[in-house]
């Protein structure tokens, strides 16, 4: 019997002894876990603070590195001034900087468009940042062969009531599709004939002014967006203003619909009106229709895609002795063969804006290779049949490369 008592007493003793130990172990684990959670939460807050551009830490890399010496020799390390602290904080306020180089080589004979054999066609510097809670700013400076040009520089007011988005500054006008695109996002090494003949060529309608955009109410699934713009009235050889009231105006309506998960259709109608180089009494009006069909299977989106596009432009240019009515268009298709390869073709045709009796036409074949998301190599065979009855056969080679901040992919 005494054994039983002893046994019970022993058991009780063990239980009494172990329970707190186990509980202590448990609570220690809990405490460590709670501490871990707090560290993760703090790290997150530090990241957010840094992203919000507040001087949270002297320099991004120092906290981890500095922790050890501070612990061992706190007096010395603590007394040292932190060099570069202020500049690191100031750097956080810098805009995203990117540079895109566009190197172009041309072969073949074309007396109408005598581009050099090699040219550093354009170096575009982009500076982009959120300005304040109400706006963001975007600057694109293009350094060409002849000098520097402010390609775009505008503020976008993003926090306006009633869904309005307003832009002010110099910008590419919302006329059609190609006119809004920078060189480096075009699927070709050049711009189509119709752009060159009727819409101001490479610079296009790119002017200082104001732009208002709003998404319009529409049936479900349909995206409708209207844009109205007023510019000073100076754009390449399309518009020119000889007095303050010679402003140009652009209107654009865009409709978009997802046909399926992978296919969508984008249609636009544009109108532009301004005064031409003959003076305030001479108007040029442009009408445009554009359509883009895109296919990109979501599961294999990085391997295969197709974009078919077309743009049709009518120009009415008042000049002496009579109004010139010109028409031009291009259609093109680009197919992505694999992760890095794209093949495309384009057909071009356009009257000239100053002489609607002269019509040029052309065709191109394009092959593009992307070593990575940040560089591309393109070859383009271009045939142009000029109104003066001669053909130009050319081969264009383009090398584009981008440095710095990761920009958004254009759509």
């Amino acid at each position: 019997m005494p054994y039983r008592h002893w046994g019970v007493a022993f058991l009780i003793f063990i239980l009494v002894a172990i329970a707190p130990a186990a509980r202590a172990q448990q609570s220690q684990d809990d405490r460590i876990k709670a501490l871990e959670e707090r560290i993760i939460a703090l790290e997150g807050q530090v990241r957010m603070l840094k992203a919000q551009q507040q001087p949270a830490a002297p320099a991004p890399a120092t906290p981890e590195v500095a922790a050890a010496p501070v612990a061992s020799a706190a007096g010395q390390a603590g007394a040292l001034p932190v060099y570069g602290g202020a500049s690191a904080a100031a750097k956080a306020l810098n805009p995203d900087i990117s540079v895109i180089g566009d190197f172009l080589g041309s072969m073949g004979h074309n007396p109408m468009l005598p581009t050099p054999a090699f040219q550093m066609h354009e170096s575009e510097v982009g500076l982009q940042a959120i300005i304040d809670p109400y706006a963001r700013g975007d600057f694109f400076l293009s350094f060409g062969e002849e000098g520097v040009n402010l390609e775009e520089g505008y503020i976008t007011l993003t926090a306006l009531p009633a869904g309005f988005v307003v832009r002010g500054g110099k910008m590419r006008a919302a006329f059609g599709k190609v006119n809004t695109l920078h060189n480096h996002v075009l699927p070709w090494a050049d711009r189509p004939l119709v752009t060159n003949s009727l819409v101001g060529g490479e610079d296009g309608i790119d002017d200082a002014g104001l732009s208002v955009t709003r998404i319009l109410p529409a049936p479900k699934g349909l995206f409708l967006e209207a844009t109205g713009q007023v510019f000073r009235g100076d754009s390449a050889d399309v518009f020119s203003s000889s007095q303050r009231s010679d402003v140009s105006a652009i209107a654009h309506l865009r409709g978009y619909r997802d046909l399926t998960e992978s296919t969508n259709l984008d249609i636009g109608a544009s109108y532009a009106r301004g005064h031409n180089d003959l003076g305030s009494r001479f108007l040029t009006q442009l009408y445009g229709v554009d359509a883009t069909l895109r296919w990109k299977p979501l599961r294999r989106s990085i391997y295969h895609s197709f974009v078919g596009r077309g743009e049709f432009i009518w120009s009415q240019r008042q000049q002496l002795p009579r109004l010139q009515r010109s028409f031009g268009f291009y259609t093109s298709g680009d197919y992505q063969l694999g992760r890095r390869w794209f093949a495309g073709a384009r057909y071009d045709r356009s009257d000239r804006s100053r002489d609607d009796a002269l019509t040029d036409s052309g065709a191109s074949l394009v092959l593009t290779y992307w070593p990575s998301e940040f560089s591309q190599l393109r070859g383009q065979y271009r045939l142009t049949r000029y109104a003066e009855h001669f053909d130009a056969h050319e081969f264009l080679m383009q090398l584009q490369f981008s440095l710095g901040a990761h920009g958004a992919h254009p759509f």
Binding site: A159, R299, S301, G407, A408, H409, F411
Partner: protein, 307 residues
């Protein structure tokens, strides 16, 4: 007179409709399906939630379609993964949507990465020679259930902030989610316990947080560098390494081409597992729990078969 009275009545109705509308569900848009799943867990029937990217889509390469603008325009809250995962497509959508509530820095914009444990924060100099690196750390953090819990907690707090009368409801839903997740986690950990330390090769480094939680050892990538497609030389190196170290399992995200992984599989006898990085990667994977159920089911089966 009648017309005026009707007009006034209509106006009053319209004014009444505004508070009525605000008492409606919170409209939440997320960049990825995983965040949508977590928001749904804590938001319950007080929110409606929609994701921009699909679960079987590469979240780095989503197109900024205008149809997404229609969603964003109506949103009360936009939740993003952050860490520059969506840098190629989300910023233009935010700029163009004309919705002041979800602009970066506004109360209706939530970067979920602030709640999570982030791995692979690069230290020292980084360049693009390393491929498409994420300078702020690995953005695939939602694949650790502990991070799922942290993010859900953060979302619950944010929802409570935007809809104070329901904050108790959101907290209660989070507590319930926490409990269910803890139980599920125990089960997952138990299943994976046998395989801790197993070596695997993955296509992209999407599995850092997952591997850390479940004790997998990722020893190589089929991509020579993040975002760079496989090269012949690198593929040969991977095959040699897999033969030498007897690595029998490859994890591939559903949006990558299986050609290279399959040929590596033929050379080495390793299994090619199409593991899902996101909710909705397959039809039956409809929530955050099923995502891990699915992945761990596949993994344990493969590990059992390749002792």
């Amino acid at each position: 007179m009648k017309v005026v009275r009707t007009m006034i009545a209509l106006l009053v109705l319209a004014l009444l409709a505004v508070p009525l509308a605000s008492a409606k569900k919170l409209n939440v848009v997320t960049s990825t399906t995983d965040l949508a799943a977590l928001a749904q867990e804590v938001g319950g029937d007080r929110i409606s939630v929609e994701s921009i990217a699909k679960g079987y889509q590469d979240p780095h390469f989503v197109e900024a379609k205008p149809s997404f603008l229609l969603k964003l325009r109506q949103a009360d809250l936009l939740i993003s993964v952050g860490l520059e995962l969506e840098i190629g497509w989300l910023p233009p959508l935010i700029t163009q949507c004309g919705n002041a509530r979800v602009q970066v820095g506004a109360p209706g914009y939530l970067d979920a990465s602030q709640f999570a444990e982030i791995l692979e924060k690069p230290t020292g100099q980084i360049t693009r020679a390393m491929g498409d690196v994420h300078p702020l750390g690995n953005p695939h953090y939602w694949l650790d259930p502990d991070n799922g819990r942290r993010v859900a907690k953060g979302i619950a707090a944010k929802l409570g902030e935007l809809d104070p009368p329901d904050s108790g409801y959101f907290q209660q839903r989070f507590a319930d989610f926490d409990k269910r997740l803890t139980a599920a986690e125990k089960n997952w950990d138990e299943q994976m316990k046998l395989f801790r330390g197993r070596q695997v090769v993955t296509y992209h480094n999407s599995w850092t947080n997952f591997s850390k939680h479940f004790g997998l050892n990722v020893v190589g990538y089929i991509e020579p560098r993040p975002g760079i497609p496989p090269t012949p030389q690198h593929t040969i190196d991977i095959i040699q390494m897999m033969r030498r170290d007897n690595i029998k399992v490859m994890l591939i995200e559903p949006y990558f081409d299986l050609k290279t992984p399959n040929s590596i599989g033929r050379e080495t006898g390793a299994q090619v597992l199409v593991l899902l990085p996101s909710v909705g990667g397959e039809k039956q994977v409809t929530d955050y729990f099923k995502l891990f159920d699915y992945d761990i089911g596949l993994l344990t089966k493969a590990f059992n078969a390749t002792k």
